[in-house]
Amino acid sequence: MSTQIDLPKIEKKAYKDSQQDGLMEVMMGLILMTFGGFFYSPIFAFYILLIVFSGRIVESVRRRYTYHRIGFVKFHRENPKDALTGVLLFELAVIVIIFTLISIFGNVKDYSQWVNWAPLFFGMIMVGPFAHAQSRSGSVRYTGYAILSVVLGVFFSLIEFGSGCTGLILYLILIGGFLVLSGLVIFIRFLRKYLLLKKEMYDGSK
């Protein structure tokens, strides 16, 4: 037996396994795609509803497909004050980086410059949740998403597009679409890997 019980490793494994259905990716991708669509047409304003109800939607799909296969786990709640402080500090750092980049390569007073660099801004903002998921689960796929979101952000910020928000719209739809597709592939693999068990085989009911 190991001399040490590696609790962080156990916690990471539990978290990673609880997220192996890919549904968070699908939901995040849908939000990003509809958010991108909103810059094209106000019809897509329902992205706000997706954000508000994302937790409930994912939960209801999980109740139907996930929990019967791998079980349900509830983690300790993170301190909301710490989480909020972390998010605000991270966003402030991103704004400072974008501000510095625009100062170096353009003019901070020019609104169109901020629009041009918006894909990188969103790409860097998304590093936050991906880094958080990576640190909790130890899964490299989140590192991949973070790198991709920044690389695509740089790419779409440097390309010249005709009208103002085109780069941002394309970026959000592309990264969102990638997440949706990636999440769906993970979800299908998950369904194939974990077949439904009969209730009496796993519930422990006597």
Binding site: T3, L7, G71, F72, F75, H76, R77, K199
Partner: protein, 105 residues
């Protein structure tokens, strides 16, 4: 006599190890429940690799010792078993870890 006293003192931490938790399967269950708030029977089964019968038997022992709480509830009109560490179980597990570290030091 002095040597014997010294020996029993050295061995004291081993004698204090909680045998109920020390069993590998139960140790796994306790460790998983320690890092989460609660988990259902299936999740623990998947994580620990124990069969339903084994898990049920070990959780019964832990429940009898007051280390875990087993809550049977209905979700969508289906029975659902949730397990969580009690405060006593959390303390016992922490004590077990400290005791083992002491022994192995």
């Amino acid at each position: 006599m002095a040597a014997s006293d010294s020996g029993s003192k050295d061995l004291h931490p081993i004698a204090g190890i909680d045998r109920l938790i020390h069993e590998p399967a139960r140790l796994m269950i306790m460790a998983y429940l320690y890092v989460v708030e609660s988990a259902d029977f299936l999740f623990l089964m998947r994580q620990t690799g124990l069969t339903a019968g084994n898990l049920s038997s070990h959780t019964s022992k832990l429940e009898a010792a007051g280390y875990i709480e087993v809550v049977k509830e209905f979700v969508d009109r289906k029975p659902h078993t949730m397990l969580r560490l009690t405060d006593a179980g959390r303390d016992a597990f922490q004590e077990y870890r400290e005791g083992m570290m002491e022994v192995l030091r």
